[in-house]
């Protein structure tokens, strides 16, 4: 039997156990409470106080940014024909870890993708090296044509090949190949503009790359992504007319073939707006194959090269004289038998010309140096210099082409005693073809200088280069205008009065009708202009050369209501080197075609094409006399150019050097003069190209081709019918028209 519980003992034990248990309980509770508070505090510290820091670290660790290339803007001509555009093409890449036999794969792929011997990135060795070096990615070939892409896809299926994939990339295409190549420029592998308008307007054309932000975990699994769409580049519309550009380039090709000149430039300008309708340069290159281009081919001779214009510059002298009213076209001027002495230097007229007292317009027609010097002396050097500057010489024209030089023109306070005489006849001054054409445009439109432009106005704001144009591009076909725009575009200013300009146009017409510019006559249209022949500086001797010349012609058409101005400059033509015989025919060919293309109404009666007699084609030579200008003046002017002027480059000379003729210039039908005739099924023959050949060679070629030839005129062949490349029956008679 249990002893009874003693209440007193039980009470005492219970009274001590309660407080001790309670204290222990609260002690443990407080411990956990403190612990919880610490955890909460730590959480607050990490999640709130250091939130941004950890967020940033997480973003750095997790986020990857991929750049999405934007589509480059399109370059259009004024009729909205694409001159340069970007499309997507396939690029081939490999994942080397998925490829078992890398050598065999490289061999199989190189057999398909390596089509260009000059491309050393797609050889078998290069592909194999990239496959060996890479782990997860290696380029095989980038931006391959559609046919190669198809063949690689077939190869992957038939072999089969593992680890080969395709990716779309942008590729720049120039559908017209060489047309306006120097104006357009080209883009490199990374879609950056290199040269021409592609370089000049790189920020606008390139666009804004897109961004793809992805978050990845430690195993590179994508957690999420956000995108920013790429903004395509801005489309630009040029003032160039594709068809007029083609006409100018074809005429230049004919001239280069005929004269074997080192290079040539033709500029066609709208006289009422200053817009450049065509800018042809030879030799040229294909922007689609820019790797084959040399730095010399990339040079834009129209804005980057200067030359002494020679007699063409007399238009400035005569304009200044008429504007200053020191003379009028019908006034008589004493040419002193073709010789004048100025500050101890004797300036002669052309060889064999000893004119006495003749009218002013006659003096321009025969290109009398004496008359020009006298007029300049009457104007005075200060005012003469001002007219030269007003015509745009000695300053950049502002055309939207990179590498433009301002030309060579010393300030009047640095002129020598005889400089006014030299400059009056186009010596001691360096001009660019684009300055030259702007000068004749000024005369053509009634006396207002209009800055030349290659880009349609209102597209690119100089202050805000990234703004997109509001309105979409609309075609702006060239329509011959008769009046200047109102208000005048920026950079315009009046140089001559309307009367003076009209008088000058009349005198220029006289040059073409009666003077040295007979080869510039058109059929059905009146034309006016001025020829020029200048000696070049020999880079070896630094003296004026007797064998290297610059032949130029600047003209307008029609005369009474001019539509276009054309400047033709040929560097170092072989054989005939006068502007009258070499450049004037180019003007005629270009102007005739352009005016017919523009449907300009004929302003004179049409004449039937006939063989011109030798007497009619006898043109007077100009600037055949020895150069008397101060050569050091040119070098001094070159040294005063700003540092960013392309003429300050060490390899540049004040006048373009005579480079070997590259092979890019080719005739329109792509057959060389010595091309063999291919017999097509034995029943038809292909007509060879006889343009530019002398008569003896014409007869030999025709006989070799099994064709007969009928020759009209004398000299070298200017036209032929049927056209080269035409398939004709054996014994067909080819009619050729020759001229000097």
């Amino acid at each position: 039997m249990q002893s009874p519980v003693r209440p007193s003992q039980n009470r005492n034990t219970m009274s001590r156990a309660m407080p001790l248990k309670l204290a222990r309980f609260w002690l443990i509770c407080s411990f956990f409470l403190v612990w919880a508070i610490l955890i909460a505090f730590r959480l607050f510290w990490l999640q709130v106080v250091r939130h941004s820091e950890f967020l940033e670290r997480a973003e750095r660790q997790q986020q990857r940014t991929f750049e999405v290339a934007p589509r480059r803007g399109v370059l259009y001509d004024r009729n909205l024909h694409e001159l340069a555009m970007t499309v997507q093409v396939d690029s081939i890449f490999a994942v080397p870890t998925e490829i078992d036999d890398k050598q065999a794969t490289a061999h199989a792929l190189a057999a398909v993708v390596h089509t260009d011997p000059n491309d050393n990135q797609t050889t078998e060795e290069q592909i194999a090296a990239r496959l060996e070096a890479g782990h997860s990615f290696a380029w095989v070939a980038r931006r391959v044509p559609e046919d190669i892409s198809s063949r690689v896809k077939d190869l992957i299926k038939t072999r089969p090949l593992k680890g080969i994939y395709f990716q779309k990339e942008f590729q720049r295409f120039y559908p017209d190949n060489e047309i306006a190549a120097q104006v357009l420029g080209y883009v490199g592998v990374d879609d950056n503009g290199l040269g021409g308008l592609e370089q000049k307007f790189e920020p606008q054309l390139h666009g804004v790359p897109g961004r793809m932000y992805t978050a990845m975990d430690a195993r590179r699994h994508v957690l999420g992504s956000s995108e920013r769409e790429p903004q395509p580049g801005q489309n630009l519309m040029l003032t160039i007319d594709e068809n007029i550009q083609f006409m100018a380039e074809r005429a230049l090709d004919h001239a280069i073939l005929r004269t074997q000149a080192a290079n040539g430039t033709v500029v066609v300008q709208d006289v009422h707006t200053g817009q450049i309708l065509a800018l042809a340069i030879r030799p040229t290159f294909n922007p689609n194959l820019f790797r084959r281009a040399t730095p010399e081919l990339l040079r834009n001779h129209a804005v980057s090269d200067v030359y002494e214009p020679g007699s063409v510059f007399k238009l400035v002298t005569y304009s200044a004289a008429l504007q200053q009213r020191v003379s009028s076209p019908d006034d008589m001027i004493d040419c002193q038998g073709g010789k004048i002495t100025l500050a101890g230097r004797i300036i002669h007229d052309n060889q064999g010309e000893h004119y006495g007292v003749i009218s002013l317009h006659k003096a321009l027609e025969v290109s009398s140096d004496v008359a020009a010097v006298k007029l300049a002396l009457q104007v005075g050097q200060d005012r003469f210099y001002q007219y030269i500057r007003d015509f745009g010489f000695g300053a950049r024209s502002g055309a939207e082409l990179p590498g433009e030089t301002r030309g060579l023109l010393r300030p009047v306070n640095k002129w020598g005693p005889s400089s006014i005489g030299s400059i009056a006849i186009g010596q001691e001054v360096g001009v660019t073809p684009i300055q030259l054409v702007s000068m004749v445009s000024t005369i053509a439109n009634g006396g207002v200088y209009l800055a030349p432009h290659v880009l349609m106005p209102g597209q690119v704001d100089g202050a805000a280069k990234n703004q997109q144009p509001v309105a979409p591009l609309v075609p702006s076909p060239f329509k011959p205008g008769s009046e200047l725009s109102n208000p005048l575009p920026a950079g315009s200013h009046r140089v001559l009065s309307t009367l003076t300009a009209a008088q000058m146009r009349k005198m220029m017409e006289g040059v073409v009708l009666y003077g040295t510019g007979k080869e510039a006559q058109l059929n059905g249209y009146s034309s006016g202009g001025k020829t020029g022949t200048a000696q070049k500086i020999d880079p070896a001797t630094h003296l004026y050369s007797k064998t290297m010349h610059i032949a130029s012609f600047a003209g307008i058409a029609p005369v009474n209501n001019p539509v276009i101005a054309v400047a033709v400059v040929l560097d170092s033509p072989k054989g005939q080197y006068y502007g009258a015989t070499v450049s004037a025919p180019v003007f005629a060919e270009v102007a005739q075609q352009v005016l017919e293309y523009l449907a300009v109404p004929h302003d004179i009666d049409l004449r039937q094409p006939r063989a011109l007699s030798k007497a009619e084609l006898q043109v007077a030579e100009d600037d055949a006399s020895e150069h008397t200008g101060d050569i050091n003046a040119l070098y001094a002017a070159a040294n005063e150019l700003p540092s960013d002027d392309p003429l300050r480059a060490p390899t540049n000379q004040p006048v373009a050097t005579n480079q070997p003729q590259p092979t890019a210039a080719k005739p329109q039908n792509e057959s060389q003069p010595t091309a063999t005739v291919t017999l097509d099924d034995g029943k038809t023959l292909r007509v060879p190209s006889l343009v530019g050949m002398p008569m003896r060679k014409v007869i030999e070629q025709a006989a070799a081709a099994g064709l007969e030839v009928q020759i009209t005129g004398s000299g070298t062949v200017r036209e032929q019918a049927p056209a080269p490349g035409t398939m004709v029956a054996p014994g067909t008679k080819i009619v050729v028209r020759c001229g000097r």
């Binding site: 024909h81 499309v87 559908p175 047309i179 039908n669 792509e670 490349g725």
Partner: protein
């Protein structure tokens, strides 16, 4: 245990009958075990009539249930609507993305075609093909451009007059 087993496997009669008989036997045996003293047992059947009992109406409870049902219905509807829209939006997003890809592909095809057109219409190519076909450049004056402005004094080459209205 053995008796239960026997009863269970016995065939011929229903289970309840067999159980009742078995219980009677057990009862008899129990009585004998009580040394022959048989306790009178009386069974008073009770007839319980619960038909008078009805559930007391609880309007508060009923109202709560109605409110609850309504709330659940609304919540369910909202959830369904949200879910429907959510997944519909996802589906639309996929469809939109698919259409965007089609659109982008068509645009790219359009650019390719424009490039092809530009290459095919380049002046050099047209000129070469024309010459190979025997065409030559038109001579000056050979092209006649119709004038834009009409000359009233020029004789009319053709004229169209509206038909006279039919007499009624």
């Amino acid at each position: 245990m053995a008796a239960c087993t026997t009863t269970y496997f016995e065939a011929g009669r229903s289970w309840s009958a067999r159980v009742a008989e078995r219980n009677a036997e057990l009862m008899a045996q129990q009585s004998l075990r009580r040394r022959g003293v048989r306790t009178p047992e009386f069974c008073f059947p009770k007839h319980l009539d619960n038909s008078r009992l009805v559930k007391a109406p609880d309007p508060a409870r009923a109202r709560q249930m109605r409110v609850f049902s309504a709330a659940i219905t609304v919540l369910f509807s909202l959830t369904m609507i949200y879910g429907l829209q959510h997944f519909r939006a996802i589906e639309s997003g996929y469809r939109i993305e698919s259409e965007k890809q089609v659109r982008d592909q068509l645009r790219e095809d359009n650019r390719q075609l424009r490039l092809s057109e530009a290459q095919l219409t380049q002046p050099d190519r047209i000129d070469r093909m024309a010459r190979e076909l025997g065409f030559a450049e038109p001579q000056p004056g050979q092209m006649v451009h119709p004038s834009v402005t009409s000359d009233a004094s020029a004789p009319a080459l053709a004229q169209a007059a509206p038909p006279a209205p039919a007499a009624q």
